[in-house]
Structure formats: structure tokens, C-alpha cells
Point group: C2
Chain length 207, copies 2
């Protein structure tokens, strides 16, 4: 198909498609003349993926770059978590003593759940950063709250990994892992709001 049709099928405007082509986010089409190229369903698929990551997953263009590279280099599933962690916030977390205290609390959670992770991996650092931000705002997180969230995270992670098994094709696994993680964060946030509304109505009465 021509670019105009690609735009119609994917719902992505032509100037945006051209930008993605320049940036290498969309692979080039098959050239049919010096000024024209032909695109196929793989291009439609890629554009829909990029659109969903940006609109629903809330990723930046830089994150999308990394994701596309992971798909094209057929990064092994095991290493994908590293890529989806690139999108994690790297908060400054205020002064050093606050960050050091937050790092100790992060380590305590990891130990409590017996999570086998490197203590200085990006996710552990991000955890310390988020906890430092709570402290910075004068609202230190409560220990029991954090423990229950970590417990729920274990349930979710088991379910996440289960949902990857049974997918055969490498590219499909990679796409599914990325989509599942990125959209999965949004999905969980939405479910959490629904559950909060339910608990809130039960406790405070309500609309």
C-alpha cells in the first residue's frame, strides 16, 4: 500500500509516519520509484504498536526507540525486563541521607519478599528513589502499606510470566512482553482505581 493508505489503516497522520521513518522507528517500505515506496501489514502493525505505547502506555519517544530496537534485534525475553526498566523514573530524591535511608527501606522490602535481584539494578534504584520522594514530601510511606503492595506485586508478576508461556514465535514473545508490561502498568492503575472506589464506597458510603 501507499503511504496515504498506511495512514488510513493505522490511524497515524502522514507527517508522523514520515517522522517515524526518519527516526528509524518504522522500517522503510519497499522502494517502487525514487519518490515512492510500498508498505505492508507489518508497517500497520508497527504503527499501531507505537501509537499504543505512546497514547495508552504513556511512554516517551526515547522509550519507544529502545523498544523498537529490542524488537528488531530480537532481544531474548530474559533481557527484555531490562529494557522495560529503562522507562522507570530516576528521581533525585532530595538529599543524600534521605536517599540512603530510602535505599535501606528498599532493601528491607526486597529481603522481606525474598526477591533474588541485584541490589543496585535499575528497579531497586527506582524503588529507593520513589520512597525518597515520599519522604521528601513529608509523607513517608508506611511499612505495612509497602509490604502489602509488594505482596500484591508478587501475585501480578506470577500472572505476568504465566501469560508469556505458550507463545512460540520470538518476535511475538518480545512484542507481547513489551505490550504486557507497558500497557499492563496502565491496566493495573485502572483496576486499582476501580477497587479503590469500591472500598471507599463501602467504608465512607458514597455515590
Amino acid at each position: 500500500m501507499r503511504m496515504a493508505e498506511l495512514s488510513r489503516e493505522s490511524g497515524v497522520p502522514v507527517p508522523t509516519i514520515k517522522y517515524y521513518l526518519r527516526e528509524g522507528i518504522l522500517p522503510p517500505g519497499e522502494r517502487t520509484s525514487p519518490n515512492q515506496a510500498r508498505y505492508d501489514q507489518s508497517h500497520v502493525r508497527r504503527l499501531k504498536l507505537v501509537k499504543a505505547m505512546l497514547d495508552v502506555g504513556g511512554l516517551s519517544i526515547a522509550d519507544v526507540h529502545r523498544m523498537v530496537a529490542a524488537i528488531e534485534q530480537r532481544t531474548p525475553t530474559h533481557d527484555l525486563l531490562g529494557i522495560t526498566q529503562q522507562g522507570l523514573p530516576r528521581p533525585e530524591g532530595g538529599d543524600d541521607s534521605r536517599l540512603a535511608a530510602a535505599r535501606r527501606r528498599a532493601e528491607a522490602v526486597i529481603e522481606e519478599r525474598a526477591w533474588k535481584v541485584e541490589p543496585d539494578c535499575p528497579a531497586a534504584t527506582a524503588l529507593a528513589g520513589v520512597l525518597a520522594t515520599f519522604a521528601e514530601l513529608g509523607q513517608p510511606e508506611s511499612g505495612p502499606w509497602l509490604s502489602r503492595l509488594a505482596e500484591a506485586a508478587d501475585i501480578v508478576a506470577e500472572a505476568d510470566l504465566d501469560s508469556l508461556s505458550g507463545v512460540a514465535d520470538t518476535e511475538a514473545i518480545i512484542e507481547r512482553a513489551l505490550v504486557g508490561t507497558v500497557l499492563g502498568d496502565t491496566l493495573f492503575a485502572v483496576l486499582r482505581r476501580l477497587a479503590q472506589q469500591n472500598v471507599s464506597a463501602a467504608r465512607f458510603g458514597g455515590r
Copy 2:
């Protein structure tokens, strides 16, 4: 304190502070001359809150506007969930039949958990939208996966509401509810990555 000191204490650059003042995100200081104003710790506190919401919470300026309005109007806790829901994605979700099918799956989850929520509330609509996006990408979410995420959301929501009890001051409750929800989404995403790494290492072996 003067604006230069406010900038140092909060870590927010002067031009950004001026922008927040113009936008009403930061309340004006006490005027001491036609060109000068004095600021206090409440301004430092507000700036840190806004910075955290943007940097760590991933909110847009429009979301921050709504949050600040909620704090200043002392919105009752019960209605706060409505505000934090404004930040939810409103995906288009492709064609209508896909969205209708996603809406039925969303209703089934709500029914399964016996959540007492309005079927057309923003969170329920957002849930249908996210599910429609999965389908749009050719990766329909699996029923068991969704059920387990919803189960975990219940654990998290109970913990969230518990952490609000015992806070006395209205403005403090509002701030805590907002911070807890917005930063709480980031916190959970980070915990989920850690748990995933742990489960992934146990199943596939690895780093």
C-alpha cells in the same frame, strides 16, 4: 524568603516558579514592594509536591492544575478519586465492535470482583479502552491474567484506604490521597518489575 531562595530550597528554577505563579499552580507570595514578594515554607512544600507529581508521578501540567485546585478547594476525600481518575488514559480503542466487546469484558471483571462502581464511570471506561487496545494490537488479554490482576488490585486498594485513616487535617488527607495515588502507581510499577525479575530468574535461570 525571596524568590531566589525559594528556588534554591525547592530545587525548582526561577523561570519555572514564575510560570507556576502565572498559571495559579503556586499561590502568590506576600507582596513587599511592587516588584517583590515574600514566600514561606508552604510555597516550598507546594513546589516539591508539583515537582514530584511531574517527575516521578508522570502527570501532565493539566493534571497538576486539577490536583492543585482539589487541594485549594479542600475537596472531600471521597471525591478525590474522581480527580485522580482524570489522569486516566482515554484510549480510542479502534473500531466500535472491538470497544463494545472490551466493554463487556470490563463489566465481567467488575462483576467477578463484585465491585460496586458505576458501569460508565471514568475508570470503567478506561478499563474497556485499555482492553480494546490489547485487542487492537492483536494481543487480546487472557481472562485468567486479568482476574489475577484484579485480585491483586483489591489487596492494594484495601492497603491504600487503610493508609489514609488516622490522618486528621483535611489538607493533609487530600495531599496524602493525591500523593499516595499518583506516586503509588509508580511505586507499584517498580515493585512489579522487581517481582518479575525474581520470578523470571527462578523460571528461566539468569542474571
